[in-house]
């Protein structure tokens, strides 16, 4: 039986186990939306902006580990996806975006709502396709999903001209998805793994530095077993928070710019770094020439381009984190003698004790306190999604995660506007979880329209806005490094007499038919959080927090990571 291109697309999505798509229709995807109308297996969430759709698909993917799917029309619909694709690419999130394109005979004609979508999205996708024949759809979708979730995951875009959505052909249920130029090395070279392990065991001061690869390969258990077996300290990047229990005695916090004193001390004083699924990002290393001066580096990553990019690895292992750690654990179990890292561990944890993360616990309503209370009241069992800014760093610092896929944040691209749609997508993936969007007043306004999506589909998230009336993170830099010349960071009124602020987030929540709250005093925080947790609907919480609070510690941009400014 012949099916239309649109019907084949849905067959392909079903085949990949897709149950949710996020998107907005338009002229060139009406045929596809028409096919969705009859589909019983795939639920469509109409978002209010395509960027929202992309971030929802991304949040869905991060929370579930499955591939997120979004759909947009040609031209402006497709260009609105770009930030979402770039966000997913930098954090290696599996996603498939389907865009409509003008009819094949109009491609290249500056037709109405035509954009060169594959051209525009090339640098922000792992791969993209322009479909030129309805008979190719099945194979292209199979390849797209395979690429999105395998190797180093990432977003893939498929651009489908409208005539091809309508054209008919037989559906090929089992196309060959193999790609001759793409064979990610999963296992890693056994000899190299052995060499790497021997080198690790020969060290006296070992630091385990794990990144997002731990989450995407599902290697948390193996990482924990490995760290405990060796009794060595573990630092996690922003992308892997929760990949090792945040309450474990071996965990020393995140490294880098807003990292803990202990983690940065460990880098600067260790003699061996075991990097797994992390990429020595500049936010982690600070000034590269002064980074980890005494350390040899064993680097495990599935992406060879991540190895020896910023920092040269002494022993590279190209492979999947989980599979390599597993092999190392087998080799370890045959070892009779383990190195003794206890003295080193004590050295590091002493720094952690002497210089812990902290904040002033006084009368003032401080943003860190709000997060701390969320942590205590939810007993660390919620899923936290963040926007980008100071609140994001505080969320990482003061909410502790014991499980992977519980802390969801735009790390690589740092996309303001990610949090609200990201939270909605995450909640759709894990409806049984309490999902809290730790947000800033600036970021929230970048995709605030998605409150309507939450309302209409009855998706409950808690939008906890730490409202400081500033683009706080930028204000902090201006305070510390630009002589307090606040340029373009004040979100509140420009007049010092006028104490009003816009928008009134409580009213905004109510305008969307949701619960809105404003919390101004410290003593009201607990009751408000409990009320929000009890609510069945999305809640918008406007916490009027201290305006000029800073994130500490901070390593100035371009400085060595032991040049730390901390709370006085």
């Amino acid at each position: 039986m012949k099916l239309s291109g649109s019907e084949i697309i849905l067959k392909c999505l079903e085949r990949e186990g897709v149950d949710t798509v996020f998107g907005i229709p338009g002229g060139s995807v009406i045929p596809l939306f028409d096919a969705i109308y009859d589909n019983k297996k795939i639920k469509l969430f109409l978002t209010r902006h395509e960027q929202g759709a992309a971030h929802m698909a991304d949040g869905y993917a991060r929370a579930s580990g499955k591939t997120g799917v979004c759909i947009a029309t040609s031209g402006p619909g497709a260009t609105n996806l770009v930030t979402g694709l770039a966000t997913a690419l930098l954090d290696s999130i599996p996603m498939v975006a389907v865009t409509g394109q003008v009819a094949s005979h109009l491609v290249g004609n500056d037709a109405f709502q035509e954009a060169d979508t594959t051209g525009i999205t090339r640098p922000v996708t792992k791969q993209n396709y322009l479909v030129t024949d309805v008979g190719d759809i099945s194979k292209i979708f199979a390849q797209a999903f395979y690429l999105a979730r395998s190797g180093r995951p990432g977003p893939v875009l498929i651009d489908v001209p409208s005539d091809i959505q309508k054209a008919e052909c037989e559906y090929d249920a089992k196309p060959d998805a193999s790609i001759r130029g793409y064979k990610p090395s999963m296992e890693g070279n056994p000899r190299q793994i052995k060499t790497a392990l021997e080198a690790l065991l020969a060290s006296k001061k070992l630091l385990i530095y794990a990144g997002g690869g731990i989450i995407s390969s599902g290697a948390s258990k193996e990482l924990a077993a490995f760290a405990r077996k060796l009794n060595a300290p573990v630092t996690l990047t922003l992308m892997s928070i929760g990949g090792f229990p945040g309450t474990d005695g071996l965990f020393i916090g995140m490294p880098g710019m807003h990292g803990t004193q202990a983690a940065n001390f460990a880098f600067q004083n260790c003699d061996m770094i075991f990097a797994v699924g992390a990429r020595f990002d500049d936010r982690v290393t600070g000034k590269v020439s002064a980074f980890a001066p005494h350390a040899k580096i064993v680097h495990v990553d599935i992406d060879p381009t991540s190895i020896s990019k910023n920092v040269t690895a002494d022993i590279p292992v190209v492979g999947d984190c989980k599979s390599v750690l597993k092999q190392m654990l087998v080799l370890l179990s045959a070892k009779k003698k383990m190195p003794d890292y206890a003295p080193w561990l004590k050295q590091v944890t002493d720094v952690a004790k002497k210089k812990p993360l902290c904040y002033k616990d006084d009368e003032i309503l401080r943003p860190q306190y709000v997060i701390d209370r969320f942590y205590q009241i939810t007993k660390g069992q919620a899923m936290v999604v963040t926007e980008v800014g100071q609140h994001q760093m505080w969320a990482e610092q003061f909410y502790k995660f014991d499980k992977p896929r519980r802390f969801i944040t735009s790390g690589g691209l740092g996309t303001m506007g990610y949090g609200l749609p990201g939270a909605i997508g995450a909640k759709r993936a894990c409806p049984e979880m309490e999902v809290i969007d730790i947000a800033g007043d600036g970021s929230t306004q970048m995709n605030i329209q998605e409150l309507a999506t939450a309302k209409v589909y009855g998706i409950k998230v808690i939008v906890a806005i730490l409202n400081n009336s500033y683009l706080g993170m930028v204000r902090q830099w201006q305070e510390l490094f630009y002589k307090k010349r606040y340029s373009g960071v004040l979100l509140g009124s420009q007049s010092s007499k006028d104490k009003k602020y816009w928008p009134d987030f409580k009213l905004v929540g109510e305008a969307y038919g949701l619960k809105g709250m404003r919390i101004e005093r410290k003593k009201d925080v607990d009751a408000a959080i409990k009320e929000a947790l009890a609510s069945k609907e999305t809640v918008v919480m406007d916490f009027q927090v201290a305006k000029e609070e800073n994130v500490f510690p901070i390593v100035p941009g371009g400085a060595a990571i032991d040049q730390i400014i901390d709370m006085s």
Binding site: Q127, N128, L130, I179, G181, P304, T305
Partner: protein, 159 residues
């Protein structure tokens, strides 16, 4: 340092853009890039000459390998290989200089493709150093127009 790399790629639209985008996004400087068909009908071969240290070369090779549309990459760094460039060059030639130019052409085994009242057009293949040598010799006569195809390369022997 100059490095020569060959990449076997899928012969389909968009692939050249993906490869050139890879270079521009990372500010790798391409000195020459050629594309052509191969013994396999749906595979094209690109020969890319880049400038940079070994570290840049390593990154280039890794990034090329990472592209799903790239089937195979040959890095000629540690190999014996043959490389050739093709050049067409139109030189001013007066009655007086014509014979000198023809002599240069014959020494370097260049073909004379076209002769007019005041120009000669030569075709020359060879290694880059040879081409550059000829250019140096022809420059005093006045080069009116010149085009080079870019380097193509292949390893020696059975490989």
């Amino acid at each position: 340092m100059k490095h020569t790399i060959a990449a076997m790629v899928e012969n389909k639209p968009g692939v050249l853009a993906k490869i050139s985008g890879l270079f521009s996004a990372r500010a790798f400087n391409i000195m020459s890039l050629t594309v052509g068909e191969t013994e396999v009908h749906d595979v094209s071969r690109m020969t890319i000459v880049v400038k940079g240290d070994d570290k840049i070369l390593e990154q280039v090779v890794k990034h090329l390998n990472k592209l799903p549309d790239v089937i195979k990459v040959i890095d000629f760094k540690n190999e014996e290989f043959i490389e050739r460039d093709l050049m067409l060059v139109k030189v001013n030639a007066s009655k007086a200089s014509r014979s000198e130019i023809i002599e240069i052409a014959s020494i370097f085994r260049a073909n004379i493709l076209d002769v007019s009242a005041d120009t000669i057009t030569l075709e020359l293949t060879g290694r880059e150093t040879k081409l550059e040598g000829v250019i140096r010799l022809l420059r005093p006569y006045g080069i009116k127009e010149m085009v080079r195809a870019g380097v193509v390369a292949m390893s020696r022997g059975r490989k």
